[in-house]
């Protein structure tokens, strides 16, 4: 008896919510100026073509799954952008699947690959966010859809070179870079080249710190940049182990710096570790992620006097990409969403909320944003050395930390 009752109430709830959903859908689309007549017709007609959903706005929104990973700030970013997008385009619904960083980014690409190999489309993953290495990894298996301005109009705002770097397989929607953060009270003229930086470190013993490279990208970038300093420029895109023989000079340099860095060779853990030292004044200069510095200055965690500069040649940096699995069945809806993400509106959210660099060219952004990134959002380099990074960390641990 009781069970029957539950079923009935469940059914009626489902029915009611379905009604509400359709109601929302049609009233929402009615507001948009285009296709009003078509929409209200589609709302009642049962034979509306399902595949015309994105362009011909069916009353029932197309829902697609968006997998992304990262820290809490990434989640907050999407929690802001997605509702704004859904308000503007009621015919598309984005289903966020957030995977906290360190818990399963690798399985997501494995899932896409496994679904493809099993002939099951894209495994219900319609949009995916990750870094350069995943783009190249999936490229080998032909996982990603080629994107262009014909599908996503706002891609015209993106630097064509950035798109070419990933063979148009991904949308670089934001980026950040490792920069040199320093206390401008103590350091009047920050170094602008690597050699000048080394001189500064030796001239100011204990006043520079970089974090343990295996625990955070900022320290890692300092180490990698130092190792590749004396190597040809093309080497930073080389992932063949034969190049490891040429690392000796770089490691010798890092070893030598050991006695001049903070605490005669202390490398705090995590990117935040060195930022803490900068905040309490124990050191005056550190390599750090630009978005972390900007955010912590704006929250008052770092003093106002904290400034940033990029070296030439620059530290590691680069975009975070949005990828569309080739076998996704809801590409039209995804394109619509991507188009919104690359609009100056959504990009302003990236800048204001995350303190990231916009994915579109700065000239498309408001003037005040352009000013705030002067000298910082440029000059960084994208290192793509694959699994050699593991070997660098390993060798750093034995050669530099435990010398």
């Amino acid at each position: 008896m009781l069970r029957k009752k539950t079923t009935v109430s469940l059914l009626s709830t489902a029915l009611a919510s379905a009604l509400i959903l359709t109601g929302c859908g049609s009233s929402g689309t009615n507001e948009s100026s285009a296709n009003t007549a078509a929409n209200s017709a589609a709302g009642t007609a049962t034979n509306a073509s399902p595949n015309g959903a994105a362009t011909n706005a069916n009353a029932k929104p197309v829902e697609f799954n968006f997998y992304f990973t990262g820290s809490q700030n990434v989640k907050e970013l999407w929690d802001t952008i997605i509702p704004a997008f859904e308000k503007q385009s009621p015919d598309v619904k984005v289903n966020e699947v957030y995977i906290p960083s360190g818990t399963g980014a690798q399985p997501t690409i494995d899932r896409i690959l496994a679904a493809k190999q099993a002939g099951k489309g894209s495994g219900d993953i319609d949009l995916y966010e990750d870094g350069l290495s995943v783009v190249t990894q999936g490229q080998k298996d032909d996982l990603w859809e080629t994107l262009g301005t014909d599908k996503i109009a706002n891609l015209s705002n993106v630097d064509p070179q950035t798109m070419k770097d990933v063979s148009n397989l991904a949308v670089p929607y934001r980026s950040s870079a490792v920069v040199l953060a320093y206390n401008s009270d103590k350091v009047k003229t920050p170094p602008t080249t690597l050699d000048a930086l080394y001189d500064w470190i030796k001239g100011n013993p204990g006043k520079f710190a970089y974090n343990d490279p295996s625990t955070g990208g900022a320290g890692n970038s300092f180490v990698v940049t130092s190792i590749y300093k004396s190597l040809p420029e093309a080497a930073i895109h080389e992932s063949d182990p034969s190049i490891e023989k040429q690392w000796d000079q770089g490691f010798a340099l890092l070893k030598e710096l050991n006695k001049s860095v903070y605490g005669n060779g202390i490398y705090p853990k995590k990117n935040q570790g060195t930022l803490d030292l900068l905040a309490n004044g124990e050191v005056d200069m550190i390599p750090a992620w630009s978005d972390m510095v900007l955010e912590q200055v704006s929250k008052g965690l770092l003093p106002e006097t904290t400034k940033m500069t990029q070296l030439t040649p620059g530290f590691n940096g680069g975009p975070t990409y949005l990828l569309v699995p080739k076998l996704s069945e809801k590409k039209d809806a995804v394109y619509k969403f991507l188009n919104y993400v690359m609009s100056p509106d959504a990009q302003s959210v990236v800048v204001n909320k995350m303190h990231g660099f916009p994915g579109i060219e700065l000239s498309n952004m408001p003037q005040d944003i352009q000013d705030s990134f002067k000298g910082v959002a440029e000059g960084f380099r994208s290192f793509n050395i694959g699994e050699l990074g593991d070997d660098i960390n390993k060798r750093w641990q034995s050669d530099v930390a435990a010398q």
């Binding site: 343990d212 295996s214 625990t215 605490g263 060779g265 202390i266 490398y267 705090p268 853990k269 803490d276 309490n280 004044g281 124990e282 699994e387 593991d390 960390n393 390993k394 641990q397 034995s398 930390a401 435990a402």
Partner: protein
């Protein structure tokens, strides 16, 4: 079925759930990681990972460092906890009341927060140093990013529970024993070494086991407070596993840590069994 047999079956049934849980979450993982640790680079099985563990300079110094931290922490924790527990048992007054109220507090503070608290307090620019500086009393030696930091953190994490354990053992000692010993003229030290210490020896062993295992497997504090090299085994394991992606070496390291702990566990269980058989002999 005889009554005895029925009781036996019931006993087995009661033990089964805990045995299954133990099997799935303890025994199987150990067997699996042992198997993993024997895999070599070419896919075969040998002891190369263990060889690396004991021949690599870095790994050897990690192992020595870990044992050093663990042994020093164990000794200090036991001395301090025993003193605290004995003080609370045999004295009265304001100080005892306050210690009783306060000594459990560290148990309720999450380890990450406690660790950052220690950094704030004892760091180079922490407030302990700032106070000393204001009072023109020089500077503390480097504590954070050093072995001292890890030991201080282990003291903070382990003293409350150990004190509690030893406290309950000391409470179990009847006052009459102490008093009658006094009556026949035993001195304070004699009472302690002849009566109190032997009567709490078992609990002491339990406490050593807990502290040893807690410190040897610690991660948060050594990760945030420790030096970059040598590292404690927990930190090194994490690095080998998730940064260097050397699953087999990490497994070897984990299995070695397990062996160290089970060595101590052996003494613990042996003394427990000895106690049981004494009891049985007395009762039977």
């Amino acid at each position: 079925m005889s009554k005895k047999m029925k009781m036996g079956v019931l006993g087995l049934l009661l033990v089964t759930p805990s045995f299954l849980v133990l099997l799935v979450i303890v025994v199987l993982p150990i067997v699996l990681s042992f198997k993993e640790s024997l895999k070599n680079k070419s896919g075969g099985y040998d002891l190369s990972n263990y060889e690396y563990l004991f021949t690599d300079k870095l790994m050897r110094s990690n192992i020595i460092f870990t044992l050093e931290v663990t042994v020093i922490s164990c000794v200090l924790v036991l001395i301090i906890s025993y003193a605290l527990a004995a003080f609370m048992r045999f004295s009265q007054g304001m100080a005892v009341r306050w210690i009783k109220r306060l000594y459990m507090i560290p148990l309720f503070i999450p380890s990450v927060i406690a660790t950052y608290g220690l950094i704030q307090l004892l760091g180079n620019h922490g407030w302990a140093n700032r106070l000393l500086l204001a009072a023109h009393m020089g500077q503390l030696p480097r504590i954070i990013f050093d072995i001292k930091g890890i030991i201080i953190a282990s003291l903070w994490f382990n003293i409350p529970f150990t004190t509690m354990l030893l406290g309950s053992a000391l409470t179990a000692i009847p006052n009459s024993i102490v008093e009658s010993a006094k009556d026949v003229g035993a001195g304070r030290l004699q009472i302690f070494f002849r009566f109190i210490l032997p009567m709490t020896y078992k609990t002491l062993l339990v406490a050593v086991t807990f502290v040893f295992m807690g410190v040897i497997g610690s991660f948060t504090a050594p990760f945030l407070l420790g030096p970059n090299a040598p590292q404690m085994l927990g930190v090194s394991m994490e690095q080998v596993f998730s940064v260097f992606h050397e699953k087999e070496q990490a497994a070897a390291l984990a299995f070695f840590t397990f062996l160290l702990c089970s060595g101590l566990g052996y003494f613990y269980i042996r003394s427990m069994i000895a106690e049981e058989s004494v009891k049985n002999a007395l009762l039977g």
